[in-house]
């Protein structure tokens, strides 16, 4: 068992420069601060990362088809508001959460329709969707936060963001649940294989009997659904939905995907990489916070790390 297993681990490390980057980042951070590598802080980083990771894993599907989704932050805000108002009206989470995720999937599918049948570039479609949905979130909330209120439903709903199970925050479970689901779909189903094929070459995919439009619509729906789940977690954690929540999240998600080694040209990438990419960003934010670096410098540092990660990746790919 051990020989192939070791081989597998080595390959994983070589294939995933992001993983090495993460290890390096953790080592440096641990060296610079005693408060970094504690159990509490580790769980803290994972919890903070969970929202970006959940969004980014959805966006990975879109990017694998050589598309892009800029609307996820706005989807998060609008669906988060849906979730809050459903909860405020006393609807139990086992109804409101699937409802919210379905709404996110539907919003994503609309973008997908325009990309697939409208033959409009994904960048433009999702930029428009971002603008419209952000506006819709403001209209829906009337520009004010929507509190989830205080009811039995609200208490249960809150657990999704603030609760613990065996000492581990619930959002971390959700993040790993989404990871396992996405990984299974991408690597063990026909649909996943087709996602890679569409991104690898649309004409090849079409001639291989793949319904390219259906795949395209589906990946935007998945991206929307993941953004909505992230909206649930954020709303639950804050106890209210903010109309401006998730501003700029689309860029963090894309950064996580790219750091994770997924090609923006489509057809190549792994969901595991995205998870690691999200952790790189999460660890970086956390470490800089602990070290007391001002948030202005944090942005510069974050940009530099993303650039570095992508440079290393593109160099290693052109040399192979």
């Amino acid at each position: 068992m051990s020989a192939p297993a070791t081989h597998h681990v080595t390959r994983l490390l070589i294939d995933n420069k992001a993983f090495l980057a993460l290890a390096l980042l953790v080592a440096v951070s641990a060296g610079m601060s005693d408060n970094f590598l504690t159990l509490d802080n580790t769980l803290n980083v994972l919890r903070q990362t969970s929202i970006n990771a959940i969004i980014a894993m959805g966006v990975t599907f879109v990017i694998l088809t050589a598309g892009i989704d800029l609307s996820v932050g706005a989807v998060l805000a609008l669906t988060g508001a849906f979730a809050a108002s459903m909860t405020a009206s006393g609807l139990a989470p086992w109804l409101s959460v699937p409802g919210t995720v379905a709404a996110g999937a539907a919003l994503g599918a609309i973008s997908g329709l325009f990309v697939a049948y409208g033959r409009v570039q994904a960048f433009i479609v999702t930029l428009v969707a971002m603008t419209i949905l952000r506006g819709a979130a403001l209209v829906f909330t009337d520009g004010r936060p929507i509190a989830i209120g205080a009811s039995e439903a609200a208490d249960t709903f809150w657990l999704l963001g603030g609760g613990y199970w065996f000492g581990v925050p619930i959002p971390i479970y959700l993040m790993f649940f989404v990871f396992v689901l996405c990984w299974s779909v991408l690597h063990h189903t026909r649909f996943g294989r087709h996602v890679y094929a569409v991104g690898g070459g649309e004409k090849v995919a079409r001639l291989s009997g793949i319904n390219v439009n259906r795949i395209k619509i589906s990946v935007y729906a998945i991206s929307g659904a993941c953004a909505a789940l992230a909206g649930v977690v954020l709303t639950a954690r804050l106890g209210s939905a903010q109309p401006t929540a998730g501003t700029g999240y689309e860029l963090d998600a894309i950064a996580a995907v790219v750091i994770g080694g997924t090609s923006l040209m489509g057809g190549r990438g792994r969901i595991f990489g995205t998870l690691i990419g999200a952790l790189v960003i999460g660890v970086l934010n956390n470490a800089l916070n602990i070290m007391g670096v001002s948030s202005y410098y944090q942005m510069i540092a974050k940009g530099a790390v993303i650039l570095l990660a992508v440079l290393i990746d593109s160099r290693s790919q052109s040399s192979s």
Partner: protein
């Protein structure tokens, strides 16, 4: 021998290989001032590659190039251009949104003293050049609004603007009308008399004899003949282009034809102007013709990739009209495209995933979950059956040789158990050894009772493998031959009948 003076340019011992496949071997060619040199040969004989070496697009693996007695080594097209060599490529190289004048002087725009573009001069000079070609085109017209023939003329005007010593034209008359061709002929004569050296690549044999002083023949990357056109006739030329030895290269097996699987009547689609044929199980039906004759377009229409405009297609007697390749695959018709890179295979994906892509539904359980065991067994089966040389099915497809890639392409198509297989140039970019293996596979398909539609521009391959041969030109069928009556000359004649396709229907 060709001219009394020393050659203007001389190529000696030119070798060129792509990914290990030799496309040019020891080719010599001399070009003289005041002469028009024709370059003849079948598709894939190496004509375009040789011209790309001449103009600095490719670099030769071996051999030397001398220009006016000096050795030269072009590493970029720009260097060749500066040395006085211009080429008009087969594919138009114009920017459609720019005007004709802007295209003619692209990258060499005349400047005013301030360094801005001297537009009046640019358009004045463009007009002069176009007038030399007897074209009444306003040089301010965007190229996208010109006809293909006019665009070709703009391309020629650009070559003239370089005032080059040597002008190479790769199939310049392909998109020209007869009148435009006559004009071009006059221009070529004028340029020759002005001391230029011209190279003309054309598949229209009549043009070689009408316009050219010398002719060189390439076959399988080797120079077969170079000499004055006056010492040749059309039959000799064809014989030299296609060669003779093919008996053992093609392991032909007689067919055992079964039911008629496909019937096509008056098929009209983009690039296809009314094609009818039928083919049976256990039969190889060959499709010959020149590039752009409409064969690939026909295949694309049959497999549902491109919409059919009119006509009937029947599979096993049932009329079908596919709107996507997906439907065609379900009905048992699979198309293996010519262009492996763009349409056939995902080159940066694992070999195994490519092979099983089309047949994937067969390996899936509920929820579309892949049964990896079944999938891998099928992949392994085809790797063995087709003797595909690789170290791991997970390795990227681009790491395989052309021949092995083509076998992967075939395995991908056959894994979904089709009845009808359309093979489009199945041996393009494949070396001789792998070609034979592919021929054996085609025979195997025939034995298994598949109906094979074989599109090939290699005349000898077509003759060597097909049970019957249809020839297309200009989107129409211009010849139909049984294996016994087909000869290279007959096919070539039918294929070159671009101008008079209607004569043939009276066969």
């Amino acid at each position: 021998m060709a001219a009394n003076n020393a050659p203007l340019m001389e190529l000696r011992g030119i070798d060129k290989a792509f990914a290990g496949v030799k496309v040019l071997e020891e080719v010599d060619l001399s070009l003289h001032a005041n002469r028009v040199q024709a370059l003849a040969g079948e598709n894939g004989a190496g004509k375009s590659t040789l011209m790309k070496i001449l103009t600095g697009v490719y670099r030769a693996d071996a051999g030397s190039i001398t220009l006016r007695g000096d050795k030269v080594r072009f590493t970029t097209p720009r260097q060749a251009m500066d040395a006085g060599i211009a080429i008009i490529h087969q594919e138009l190289n114009l920017i459609p949104t720019l005007s004709a004048g802007e295209n003619i002087f692209l990258g060499r725009e005349p400047r005013t003293r301030l360094g801005t573009v001297d537009w009046p001069r640019l358009y004045r000079d463009s007009s002069t050049l176009l007038e030399r070609l007897q074209q009444r085109i306003d040089p301010r017209t965007p190229v996208s609004r010109l006809s293909i023939g006019q665009q070709q003329m703009v391309e020629i005007a650009r070559a003239l603007s370089l005032d080059a010593e040597i002008i190479v034209m790769d199939e310049p008359t392909d998109s020209l009308t007869d009148i435009e061709t006559d004009i071009l002929e006059q221009v070529i004569a004028t340029l020759r008399d002005a001391g230029k050296s011209l190279v003309l690549i054309t598949h229209r044999l009549a043009e070689i004899f009408r316009m050219c002083d010398d002719v060189a023949v390439l076959r399988d990357g080797k120079l077969i003949h170079q000499g004055p056109t006056a010492e040749m006739n059309e039959d000799m030329l064809i014989r030299q282009m296609v060669g003779r030895e093919l008996a053992d290269r093609y392991p032909y097996e007689p067919p055992t034809p079964g039911d008629t699987l496909i019937e096509v009547a008056d098929l009209v689609a983009p690039g296809v102007e009314g094609v009818s044929f039928h083919a049976r199980a256990g039969e190889v039906l060959g499709f010959g013709g020149l590039m752009g004759a409409g064969r690939t377009e026909m295949a694309q229409a049959l497999c549902g990739d491109v919409g059919v405009i009119s006509g009937q297609v029947r599979l096993r007697g049932r009329e079908v009209r596919f709107t996507s390749p997906r439907q065609a695959l379900r009905a048992g018709l699979v198309y293996v495209p010519e262009d492996r890179k763009q349409a056939g295979l995902l080159l940066d994906h694992p070999v195994g995933e490519n092979m099983s892509l089309t047949a994937l539904p067969a390996f899936c359980g509920p929820l579309g979950i892949i049964r990896h065991g079944q999938e891998n067994a099928a992949i392994r089966h085809y790797i063995d059956a087709f003797s595909i040389k690789l170290s791991d099915p997970r390795q990227h497809t681009e790491t395989l040789s052309g021949g092995n890639q083509q076998k992967v392409s075939l395995a991908k198509a056959l894994m979904c158990q089709p009845d009808i297989v359309i093979l489009d140039e199945p041996t393009r970019g494949v070396d001789v050894g792998a070609k034979r293996e592919i021929y054996l596979l085609i025979n195997q398909l025939k034995r298994d009772g598949k109906c094979v539609l074989l599109i090939s521009s290699e005349m000898s391959e077509l003759l060597g493998l097909s049970d019957r041969i249809m020839v297309l030109a200009g989107g129409r069928i211009t010849g139909e031959f049984t294996r016994d009556e087909a000869t290279q000359e007959k096919i070539m004649t039918a294929a070159a009948h671009v101008d008079a396709p209607q004569e043939i229907s009276a066969r």
